[in-house]
């Protein structure tokens, strides 16, 4: 017992010493960075980097609202960022410490200022679309060569979903993504906050829910890559990563990603510094490091997501910048929509609807 106590004290003393050295704690999405960048950051700056991951905005928001999360850099998506800014969760960025901000892409900054006016609290890390990942071999075998793989009807039409259920369908476990998608499928405004519209979206989703194997926001990467599932509604880069993993494994799984023809959600993941970040200075150093054109290009080349960094574009590989699934062409860009946060009362309805869709109760 005494010995344990001694080791414990030593451990506490050591962690206290580590805190004295400069460190930065980053909380980012899972499968979302080239991990070589993390060692490179420590080599260049001498700052110790502690890197944690999450797979849902809800988890991040709960930590932010609980306060004192201990993180110095977090990465909420647009609508969540907006809500957390209004709750006072973030501090304004000190632009004088961010010379690389000059690299950012004005087109994306104009869009993100919808959530963070003037981009005072955040910088864009990556952006992408929510769409359909398909195991083309299995799906065409079941639905025939003319399977509607670019349309939400592939999943939202119960006749299709019923047939595809055997090979496995996953859907994001995110009400604020799936309800807008169902509204887009119906030809309604995806950003509608009208509870009557939400009820219509519920009908679409509830009709196919029995055929959905799982509602989950990260398992589909492995599921698609291994051939465990054949269709997933998910985030662009995640599905492209699954496609890549299947290639590397040479397991015969052919995957394709498409932004739905009915319209696809465009989302932005923004790096921000919590108001109570213990190492705000180091956090700025990290943001500046990320905004370096070469680093951002390395990250995008690795995760297959587009970034908000104009200067990084010449360094992007052709299968990233040249892929319209990642950097959409003008036509697709016109077909993308963005959403705004639900007010608390509507949010309750949305989440309750989502539970009902998933569990049938």
């Amino acid at each position: 017992m005494k010995k344990t106590l001694l080791t414990l004290t030593a451990g506490v003393a050591m962690s206290a010493m580590a805190a004295a050295a400069e460190e930065v704690r980053v909380y980012n999405w899972s499968d979302y960075i080239d991990e070589d960048l993390l060692t490179k950051f420590t080599e260049e700056t001498g700052i110790k980097l502690i890197y944690d991951v999450f797979d849902s905005n809800d988890v991040l928001e709960t930590k932010m609202l609980a306060g004192k999360s201990g993180y110095d850099v977090v990465v909420p998506s647009g609508t969540f960022l907006q809500r957390q800014i209004s709750a006072g969760a973030f501090q304004k960025l000190d632009k004088s410490k961010l010379p690389n901000a000059a690299n950012m892409w004005d087109v994306i900054e104009a869009r993100t200022s919808k959530y963070d006016p003037g981009n005072e609290y955040s910088i864009n890390y990556m952006w992408g679309t929510t769409g359909i990942g398909v195991n083309t071999g299995q799906v065409t075998e079941i639905l025939g060569e003319d399977a509607p793989i670019t349309s939400l009807a592939l999943i939202f039409d119960p006749a299709n979903a019923e047939k595809l259920a055997a090979c496995g369908i996953h859907m994001l476990d995110a009400a604020d993504e799936m309800i807008p998608a169902a509204l887009a499928y119906l030809g309604l405004n995806p950003d509608s906050h009208d509870t009557k519209d939400i009820a219509k979206a519920e009908e679409v989703l509830a009709a196919v829910s029995p055929h959905i194997q799982k509602f989950h926001s990260s398992e589909y990467i492995n599921g698609l890559a291994n051939g465990d599932i054949c269709v997933a509604i998910g985030w662009s880069g995640d599905i492209l990563q699954a496609r890549d993993r299947a290639w590397e494994a040479e397991n015969g799984v052919e995957l394709a990603y498409n932004a739905p023809s009915e319209g696809a959600m465009m989302w932005f993941d923004q790096m921000a510094i919590p108001v109570d970040a213990p190492n705000a200075d180091a956090a700025h150093t990290f943001l500046n490091f990320i905004m370096d054109a070469g680093n951002m290009a390395a990250a995008s080349n690795y995760v297959y997501y587009a970034n908000g960094n104009k200067a990084s574009q010449p360094m992007l590989e052709e299968d990233v910048i040249g892929d319209p699934a990642i950097y959409p062409d003008e036509a697709t860009l016109g077909n993308l929509y963005t959403t705004t946060p639900y007010p608390p009362k509507v949010q309750r309805v949305v989440t309750r609807t989502w539970t009902k869709i998933k569990s049938g109760i």
């Binding site: 849902s56 809800d58 988890v59 928001e61 709960t62 932010m64 609202l65 609980a66 306060g67 809500r83 209004s86 709750a87 006072g88 969760a89 496995g168 009400a175 829910s209 959905i212 194997q213 799982k214 509602f215 291994n226 051939g227 465990d228 599932i229 608390p344 949010q347 309750r348 989440t351 309750r352 989502w354 539970t355 009902k356 998933k358 569990s359 049938g360 109760i361």
Partner: protein
Amino acid sequence: MRRLGLILVPYLWLLALFLVPFVIVFKISLSDLAMAIPPYTPNLDLTEGWAGLVSFFRELDFENYVWLTEDALYWKAYLSSLKIALISTALTLLVGYPIAYGMARAPEEWRPMLLMLVILPFWTSFLIRVYAWMGILAKEGVLNQFLLWTGLISEPLIILNTNLAVYIGIVYTYLPFMILPIYASLERMDESLLEAAEDLGCSRLSAFWLITAPLSKQGVIAGSFLVFIPTIGEFVIPSLLGGSKTLMIGKVLWDEFFSNRDWPVASAVAVILLLILIIPIILFQRNEQKQREADG
């Protein structure tokens, strides 16, 4: 004086680790949702003195509990959790009893080794073991590949993301909690009782029902509670192995807390869960007490 100290220690323990957290959760369950840090109001502001205290208590109400009664989701989730916990406990008993029996009847020099084997899985993280089951039960997983290879099935079985996978996960995880108390009660049993029964013409089967079963009753009860109580609130196993149809209160609580960001309702769900659990916990305590008295 020394005796007082001895009595005080467990009560301080209870106060610090149970009562204080409970009061905090209970207080949040009486609060209102707010978009702030922390995401509820009111918060006790001691600088305002007595007036602050009065307005603090005025703002607390039982609204969230009323909300829970208005929506079928909650009681259905409680009932479904109870059902899953009951079935899992029965299954664990069914699997665990023969194992414990075999261990207690094994040659004495083997027993420490067998005990070790039961405890060994605890050396790896619980989370990793549940993840391993995902690899075993998946459509392209180890089990399906083996069964396809043997030719027993021609289509892969869909087990992962169903309630069956949840039962497998729970039985696997909680099995040692069932085996150990049953083993303890069986091992203590005086085997000469069985010999006496046989000498008096009792068949082996009726000797088991008349002697072994009643003598291991305390172990069965203890094991069942040790499985039943944590299973009701189980979250990790249903969320990793279960599908969208697996309704358990742990998942509902997660949704309230994380998706709705509604800490007050989440806290109300937790308080009711605790009230439900108090009954089996008291019964468990009684059983332990009885056993101690019987031993003493």
